[in-house]
């Protein structure tokens, strides 16, 4: 594989790894990714009753996930966006 500045595979696995620990039924996790320039957008699709487990009270859990993704992306000069729906 050509050297990519984008931290795709590990990042993807990180989001899935964390999501699996947070939700009750880990079969229902669907993660898609799209790349635009140096921005990678991940969309995590969950059953509606599981979304809260990844968002957390007042968004605290998703904020901490995003803050870690930001730190990882900064090393590669990329930007990672994570949406949950």
């Amino acid at each position: 594989m050509a050297a990519s500045p984008l931290p795709t595979s590990g990042t993807r696995e990180f989001i899935e790894y964390v999501a699996r620990m947070l939700v009750r039924s880990d079969d229902d996790i669907h993660l898609t990714e799209s790349v635009e320039g140096n921005v990678v957008v991940y969309t995590l699709k969950l059953p509606s009753d599981e979304v809260g487990r990844v968002i957390g009270r007042e968004g605290r859990i998703i904020r901490s996930i995003r803050s870690l993704l930001r730190a990882a992306a900064a090393r590669q000069g990329a930007r990672i966006v994570l949406e949950v729906e």
Partner: protein
């Protein structure tokens, strides 16, 4: 800290809550708040009384009546290993070459504290501004493992002794600012800090003879103000002169 509770007074309910959050070193979304007495301003102070609130650090699904599963030493060390592996895996996936070690596993009054240390490259990035990324990492690890670990177990994460070093430098900041407040006899306002750092400042100066501390401002703009106590360090030259004699 979970389940930790304080009762605090203030002129208003808001002020009392703010003080309590500072004492606990946490943010508002981490606590349960009970207003025990509403504050009342009164007319010219007549009939006024202070607000009293009880603020408790919340644990999700925490049930006070539930028997705490204290576990045993073998459970603790298995938990420590699970926490260590999970953290190492997270950092590995985020592409931070790292080494996670268990610093201590401590049991105190039925509470188990697992302290993990991270060492590796680019740790400054992982610590973040004012340790914000490190705080996220610790919070996320505790949340992810909350169902697998006993509810009386808490994981602390430190990176190359950042927390110790930061605490020491915060204490230095507190002492120097207190000195200045005392010398110049005026309040000194520090930089905005997260709750955990403001707590270090309050604790460092809580037994000071010369100054008092309180926080002002909201959210990420909240800062500690260090004020001289009214009775602090009267200048000898002033002794015997009436107040305001020099205009």
């Amino acid at each position: 800290m979970d389940g930790h509770s304080v009762e605090v007074q203030g002129r208003t309910t808001e002020e009392a809550i703010g003080k309590a959050l500072d004492q606990l070193g946490v943010t508002r979304d981490e606590v349960e708040i009970e207003v025990l007495t509403e504050g009342r301003a009164g007319v010219f102070g007549v009939g006024s009384h202070e607000a009293l609130v009880r603020v408790t650090v919340a644990t999700d699904d925490f049930d006070e009546d539930e028997e705490i599963d204290a576990g045993d030493a073998a459970t603790d060390s298995a938990d420590a290993e699970l926490a260590r592996e999970t953290l190492e895996r997270m950092l590995d996936l985020l592409d931070f070459a790292n080494l996670v070690t268990v610093r201590t596993t401590q049991r105190e009054r039925g509470l188990t504290t697992i302290a993990l240390d991270v060492a590796g490259e680019d740790m400054g990035l992982l610590i973040g501004r004012h340790g914000e990324t490190l705080a996220s990492l610790q919070f996320l690890l505790n949340t992810c493992l909350s169902r697998q670990l006993s509810r009386s177990t808490r994981i602390l994460v430190d990176i190359e002794h950042y927390r110790d070093r930061r605490e020491q430098s915060l204490r230095g900041i507190a002492v120097r600012a207190a000195e200045r407040a005392r010398r110049e006899r005026r309040p000194v306002t520090l930089q905005p800090m997260p709750p955990s750092e403001r707590r270090v400042i309050h604790l460092a100066l809580q037994s000071s003879t010369w100054v008092t501390t309180e926080s002002t401002g909201e959210g990420s703009e909240r800062r500690v103000v260090i004020s001289p106590k009214p009775t602090a360090a009267p200048r000898r030259a002033n002794y015997g002169y009436s107040r305001g004699s020099r205009g």
